[in-house]
Amino acid sequence: MDYAFATIRELRQALDDKEVSSVELAKFFLARIKKYNPELNAFITITEDEALAQAGDADQAIARGEVGLLTGIPYAAKDLFSTRGIATTAASRILENFLPVYDATTIAKLKEQRAVLLGKTNLDQFAHGSSTETSCYGPSKNPWDSARMPGGSSGGSTAAVAAGLAPFALATETGGSIRQPASLCGISGWKPTYGRTSRFGVIAMTSSTDSIGTVARSAHDLAITAEVLSGHDPKDATTGNVPVMDYSAQLSAGLKGFKIGVPKEYFVEGIEEDVEKRVREAIAVAKDLGAEIVDVDLPLTGFGSLVYAIVTPSEVSSNLSRYDGIRYGHVTAEAKDLFEIYTKSRREGFGDEAKRRIMTGTYALSAGYRDAYYLKAQKVRRLLVQEFEQVFKKVDILLCPSSPNVAIKLGSAADNPLFGYIADQLNIPGALAGLAALSVPCGFGRPKDGEAVELPVGLQIIGPQWGEQKVFQVGHAYQQATDWHKQKPAGFQN
């Protein structure tokens, strides 16, 4: 078997059949990471010793017959998840060399499963961005074309999975940071319902919107990870008490009788021609599988990015206050007083984007402006939530593109004024409304820059809040009928 591109299900089978041990798998993936990471820059930290120890434990557990869904399965984690005793940088200077004292709840759950952590993946600094280009450790590269970005902010996680360096990875999303890089790297990504998974121990960006999910090779694999990671966490008061289903066991219901909405606001000018074609083809596949396709309107869509532009920096400005050089993280070498410890440590430690958001957010929350900005934005957000609630009374799910474009060249975002804007339009309203969503590969397209390369296109499947089962079911049905998710980039063979 080609373990590099095997699914979690296949690896589970191989482990259970004693065809391969967890230690062998860990060594196999660690070797691939060492071989390919210099080119891809997907990992910030490789946790070789921990991985081998955890894999050894997993093998013993398997021998004892104590096998969970992910026992012995290797994975990578975005470097935004707190890992006890393992460097956690948020790809920032201010947390360079920072060793957490505790594990995030999701990391703890995977430890309990005896999954094997291979390393921590690259991201935009503090997840502020959608290209990994704001990382202090340099950008990651897209495995389909190393001159291009993998997307972001979870670009290290998606590049690692796409290149066969890990079967799945933990990722986070605030406004597209799972769906967009999954789309650009040609893999499947799950953006959970807000509150479905615990945020405890994940370095906060926008607390009211952050969702903790995964990227993997199939909707089925995502459903397996969802079963393990979902549920109420007593340490995260915003997690819901909604029952966790056996997501992976109930995938095969098919699409007969499913009502699928196609929102016209998600197919606007600025979407690349090939992207729109591939997504429309995917919708046709869904129709062939028995789903009813209806056009729907989401007229408030355009307000999403405006709300986001206020809410995100406001919360970021507060969430980044703890990085003050007093207890941990970067502290300036010389300061004449307390004020200078703060200003110099933070000036030296934060990147430009973090500083921009701190300034914008501080302004938006200031006395006299809070009502006009933050509170008004929250009211509009409520309207967005209601608009989705209405549409999900008519349809089961929505289908649309995950990203308006295929992967663009590193450094070219600045020349593409619509890059952020249209992408936001596709991802942000659903993120603000806390919806469940997937991105699954749906073919290839040529980039707008005219280069003769074929790059992955992503189909976005949006469900209602707590609609995990529906999005996994649709994703799985689509992947049963197509094999776009089985495509792998050239150049990453063993």
């Binding site: 957490p100 945020r199 405890f200 906060a204 915003t238 007093i326």
Partner: protein, 488 residues
Amino acid sequence: MNDLKYEPVIGLEIHVQLKTRSKMFCASANNPDEAAPNTNICEVCSGQPGSMPVANREAVKKSIMVGLALGCEIPEYSKFDRKNYFYPDLPKGYQISQYDQPLCGKGEVVLGGSKIRITRAHLEEDAGKLIHEGAGSLVDLNRAGVPLLEIVTEPDFRTPAEAKEFLQDLQNIVRYLGVSDADMEKGHLRCDANVSVRRAGEKVLPPYKVEIKNMNSFRAVEAGLDYEIKRQEEALKTGGELLNETRGWDEAKAVTVQQRIKEEAQDYRYFPEPDLPALHFEKGYIEELRRLLPELPAAKRTRFMYEFGLSKKDADVLIADKNLAGFFEQVVSEMQEWAEEEGRQDDIKKFAKLTNNWIVGDFQALLKTTNQDPQDTKITAENLAELIKMIDRGEVSGSAGKKILSVMFEKGGDPSNIAVDEGLGQVSDESEIAAVVEKIISENSSVVADYKSGKKQAIGFLVGKVMAETKGKANPQVVNKILQEKLG
């Protein structure tokens, strides 16, 4: 200099540290007195990246109980907000507090006949402590995240004594509720005051106010306010300028010292805490808490006065200490039972008064020698009641009773046994006393003659002789009666 009359306008901001098992937003122990620094801390209260708060139910419940005790409206909806500012004792760079939807809304308490309006009471987390050593400062986060209830009053106090009295009452209330030790010296109860001065009879608030901090005892609150009012009056009389400022009370020098001029309000950029869902209370829950409220000091005072006929002064002494009042009630209830058995229901107020005298007098004096709580000594309520009954029955004298009480305090035990063991039983038997009286009369013929010739006060000398002969055990009333009979 003018001769106008001025009056102060005083409002208080009081922080009550709530006694809970764990801190406000995490599982770390709530023990701010822990001596070893940074031991009761975790990833949450030390503000580690990624950590999240979870609200402490017990603290919310206790806050609402205080609100109910202060007559506050308790809204069905409340939420937490972030108050953003930088300081090394504040690990997250923001304090989780409450901005516009506090747990407790407007309230009102009656204080010595006048009404004091409560503006609000909200729940928040305490900051850590800074320890300044040499050139640097150290941070101890044991206190960081401890639940604090901030109670704000309207500017309804007209004298420092009123403010002090309110604070003492509040201390008593939170102790009755069992929500805080409320020890000012230990910082469980902290009081800042806003004070300004206006022409007597003015209705509007003065155009400035001074906040006084660092008053760490009841005495300091009164003294700090007194000083500050005089300072402000002086300034007004001499045309001096008064500013919006924060001043600190300097205990040693007995003056207030300027700390900060508040030219404009600091902007804390409050916004709803996104890590904590809003709080919704069902009416039934609030009513349940109202039912759970114990009898509060004011109600207890009234009851002691009406039910037991105590004076306000006596009742005040008892209610000032919840445990002392409780012990008093236990003893009185023993006395009531006895009174009913003896058919002496009419004497209940007399017994209550006697009980009060013993508890506030000798018993409390004994408590002070060992710093004990009334419930913790070897004297049970039953035994103390027994002692009072023995005195009432004339089995022991009052002075013997004092001796028995100190033996009970030291060793415990039944007072009648102690009376026998120590030979302190009172002799009321008339024939026994009559024999001694005969003896004294025969030995003191000249005094007897004086008495018979009209010097009635001479009987006192004879009573004293009889008492000395019986080593104080004779019942003086009986002695008096027999002497009068014998001497005709």
